[in-house]
């Protein structure tokens, strides 16, 4: 296999890592108004992701930097083309990130309410816009011969892309709510399970339509297999949540997101950013990638670093495995 094809899939894996991990952070953030009845509840929710949100968000930094290094043309086209969308994502991530750290610095409820709101909005916006962005990549955008995006911000808000955005929003929301059921204890855990059922139903309908559209319009047999597997995993997660198998429901939710991302990447292959106006202007794995030498250096780094990263990040989740509950929050306050 050519190294640039390998890196196409490594980039896919990095975005899977980002969407699976920060995805449940976004979901927990968005669930504050639904599951957080009072301040203690909201603290239970925030503490369920408190130690890991930063590590999860780092995945997008690593994915972005790897995209820059492995596919400079793709990085340059996508980031300059989706300027305003990425600006909004950045601003959302900024206010959300600082809110986790600032919220607990003062006891006043007015102060906390302000940051709760920013966590909700700061989680929902990236959850929606990442889907819009990736759906646009799959669908293709207008590119000139220099691979520069020539459309406008509003061209990005087309029906397929918006459906993609609502899909990621709902997937992450359900993923986060299932995470809450896995990571908390007491009444909130039960309420999270019920909410996951309701959210799961809507998610199944919307995600299935989006995946079907993707397969029919941009897909191949390969794509269809990933999409079908994603759908099965999503329905499996829904059923396991009904049965109360929280760990497996969460695992299958993660698998759903991973398979959905693979569906999108498989639809792209061997393009990385098709031009909707003229196929000659499309960015492909070949014309967007770095030199074999750079990719070789990167591959060695990734091969050496990946096992270590998986080990210490996995270990971190293991150390922090204890469920968060109202009593643990209240006990710590004493």
């Amino acid at each position: 296999m050519e190294l640039n094809i390998l890196w196409f899939w490594i980039i896919a894996v990095m975005f899977i890592g980002y969407f699976v991990l920060d995805g449940f952070d976004f979901g927990v953030g968005m669930s504050l108004p639904f599951l957080g009845k009072d301040d203690t509840d909201r603290r239970v929710l925030i503490n369920s992701i408190g130690p890991v949100w930063d590590l999860n968000e780092t995945w997008v930094i690593v994915a972005g930097a790897s995209l820059f290094a492995a596919f400079p043309e793709w990085y340059a086209t996508m980031f300059s083309g989706f300027y305003l969308a990425l600006l909004v994502i950045l601003l959302a991530l900024i206010v959300r990130g600082v809110s986790f750290e600032y919220r607990h610095q003062r006891p006043e409820s007015e102060w906390k309410k302000w940051f709760d709101g920013m966590i909700v909005v700061g989680s929902a916006i990236p959850a929606l816009l990442w889907g819009v962005a990736f759906a646009n990549v799959v669908q293709g955008v207008q590119l000139d011969a220099g691979h520069n995006y020539t459309g406008t911000f509003f061209d990005l808000l087309n029906p397929y892309a918006l459906l993609g955005g609502v899909t990621t929003l709902l997937l992450f929301f359900t993923h986060g709510v299932v995470f809450v059921s896995l990571k908390t204890d007491g009444d909130i855990r039960l309420r999270a399970r019920k909410l996951a059922t309701k959210a799961g139903l809507v998610t199944i309908v919307v995600a299935a339509s989006f995946l079907l559209w993707t397969v029919l319009a941009f897909g191949s047999l390969f794509t269809a297999l990933f999409a079908a597997a994603a759908a099965v995993a999503l329905i499996g997660s829904f059923l396991l949540n009904l049965r109360g198998s929280e760990g497996w429901a969460f695992t299958l939710m993660a698998a759903t997101i991973g398979l959905a991302v693979l569906t999108l990447f498989a639809s792209l292959f061997p393009d990385v950013m098709p031009a909707s106006n003229d196929a000659a202007n499309s960015l492909t794995i070949d014309n967007a990638s770095s030199t074999p030498y750079t990719l070789q250096v990167m591959t060695w780094t990734a091969v050496i670093a990946a096992p270590v990263i998986f080990l210490y990040q996995g270990w971190t989740y293991w150390v922090l495995r204890k469920r968060v509950s109202r009593s643990s929050i209240e006990a710590a306050a004493l």
């Binding site: 603290r43 503490n47 408190g50 130690p51 890991v52 930063d54 590590l55 968000e57 780092t58 997008v60 930094i61 690593v62 930097a65 790897s66 820059f68 290094a69 492995a70 596919f71 400079p72 990085y75 340059a76 086209t77 996508m78 980031f79 300059s80 300027y83 305003l84 990425l86 600006l87 950045l90 601003l91 991530l93 900024i94 990130g97 600082v98 986790f100 750290e101 600032y102 607990h104 610095q105 691979h147 520069n148 995006y149 911000f153 030199t291 030498y293 750079t294 250096v297 990167m298 990734a302 670093a305 210490y312 990040q313 150390v319 922090l320 643990s328 929050i329 006990a331 710590a332 306050a333």
Partner: protein, 470 residues
């Protein structure tokens, strides 16, 4: 379209603003991580509660600051593609690799272990918990290495060849790229400057409490620690700053000439360093100046009879080499930024040296103004850091990658001035509000002072474990 909507100008302002802002938090993150790690190590070794109190106290300041460093850092990475897509296409094959290394090896380490450190007090054995803060330190310092190696490529491009067909620079040797003479000097220079910034915060905070005669048993050792940290890291910052200027004279003689606003090549005593100049900003006429003969020759070549090339001579050389054009940075910016960097840094080191003398052998100065100076000296190093970056980046102009790509040619061709104006305004507003909130939270935490150490339970004799909850 009028000049206010020039995408180049707006992109430059945005990059400058967001970078200087980001780098207010970075030095505190790097330096306070080390400080906290040292305090915690002292506690684990000696079991004295004052070190634990200091660990928690400066740990809190570290964490208020940390999130800002993280979230403003994402902007930095995205901006290359958003505002400088032509640049990204041109250098991605070379410049992207150190950024990817930074993420894969350094950021993951830092972000993972900081979470474990914050929440791990009751979940990890003492020694392992101590290891988490040291791994955070390693991650934060490693990230600085990679980003400075990337930056060094822009100052002194090496380890590449130009692919004419693809119109881009391509990496030829990663080892050479990562050992750029510029980054070998700029890395220690920057890291020790980061330690100066943190030392400045520690001195200021400790002085605040000692002046009020409160928390003396913790703040006295903190003050001593901060003063020593400032003196040692200040000396090393100066030493590597000197190495950096030597490397810079070789790689970017124009930057050194611009730092001195020296228009004509000079040798020996004539290669003097002006401490202060009053004159027209373009340097055409000088009204008044205080000069130290030989110093510029010494700084640039480490000899007294060295020759330092002047701006006009270099301009002529570059015109021959790169074609007609203006190859001179904005002289008044480089001239004054260079002086303020050195002046503020040295002032801060002097504060620390005098402080060590005044507090020797358990002494404590009585005079109020001495304490006031210590308290208000905090911004010195931080401002020196900002102007240092402004000097090094503005001194590179008009180049984005020295000798290869001009700044005006690196900007995204398809992003309109209006779009960038919107984002510039948005970043300015959000960053401005957050600066106020951040400042208030930090001063609030500083005023509160360290918490009392946990007391062992009267019946069981067990000291309760610290549990972190947001």
């Amino acid at each position: 379209m009028n000049e206010w909507l020039d995408p180049l100008l707006l992109s430059r302002w945005q990059f400058g603003l967001t970078t200087v802002y980001h780098f207010l938090f970075v030095p505190l993150t790097i330096g306070l991580a080390l400080t906290v790690a040292i305090f915690q190590t002292a506690w684990v070794r000696t079991d004295k509660t004052k070190w634990l109190q200091l660990t928690h106290f400066f740990g809190k300041l570290f964490l208020i600051n940390f999130a800002m460093g993280v979230v403003t850092g994402i902007v930095q990475e995205f901006q290359f593609g958003m505002n400088w897509s032509t640049y990204s296409r041109f250098v991605g094959d070379v410049f992207g690799a150190p950024l990817a290394f930074e993420g894969i090896t350094a950021f993951f380490l830092e972000a993972t272990f900081i979470g474990l450190w914050i929440f791990g007090w009751d979940k990890l054995p003492k020694g392992l918990h101590l290891a988490t803060i040291w791994l955070t330190v390693v991650g934060s310092i490693a990230s600085a290495y990679f980003i400075l190696a990337a930056n060094a490529f822009m100052q002194n491009p090496i380890a590449f060849r130009i692919n004419e067909e693809r119109g881009r620079a391509e990496l030829t040797d990663i080892g050479t790229l990562l050992t750029n003479p510029i980054s070998l000097a700029s890395f220690p220079h920057t890291i020790f400057a980061c330690f100066m910034v943190s030392a400045g915060l520690i001195i200021s905070v400790a002085a605040f409490h000692l002046y009020r005669k409160q928390h003396v048993d913790t703040m006295r050792p903190a003050l001593k620690f901060g003063l020593w940290m400032m003196v040692i890291s200040g000396a090393l910052t100066t030493f590597f700053g000197d190495s950096l200027s030597l490397a810079m004279v070789k790689a970017q003689p124009m930057k050194m000439a611009a730092a001195e606003a020296m228009y004509h090549t000079a040798t020996g005593a004539n290669a003097s360093f002006s401490l202060f100049t009053l004159g027209t900003p373009d340097g055409v006429s000088e009204l008044f100046s205080v000069r130290i003969p030989y110093l510029l020759s010494f700084l640039s070549t480490h000899t007294l009879d060295g020759t330092v090339e002047g701006i006009n001579n270099l301009q002529d050389q570059y015109t021959t080499l790169y074609g007609p054009g203006d190859y001179t940075p904005m002289i008044w910016v480089t001239y004054w930024a260079f002086r303020w960097m050195i002046g503020l840094g040295i002032a801060h080191i002097l504060v620390a040296v005098v402080g060590l003398w005044l507090t020797r052998k358990g002494r404590s100065p009585k005079a109020t103004w001495i304490w006031k100076v210590a308290i208000w000296s905090f911004p010195f190093s931080l401002a020196a850091m900002s102007v240092g970056w402004i000097f090094t980046e503005m001194g590179r102009q008009p180049w984005l990658v020295f000798g290869l790509l001009k700044t005006q040619d690196g900007v995204s061709p398809n992003v309109t001035g209006l779009t960038i104006l919107i984002s510039l305004v948005a970043f300015t507003l959000v960053y401005g509000v957050l600066a106020v909130v951040e400042f208030r939270l930090i001063t609030r935490a500083v005023r509160k002072g360290p918490e009392d150490a946990p007391v062992p339970d009267a019946e069981t004799g067990v000291t309760p474990q610290r549990v972190t909850v947001y």
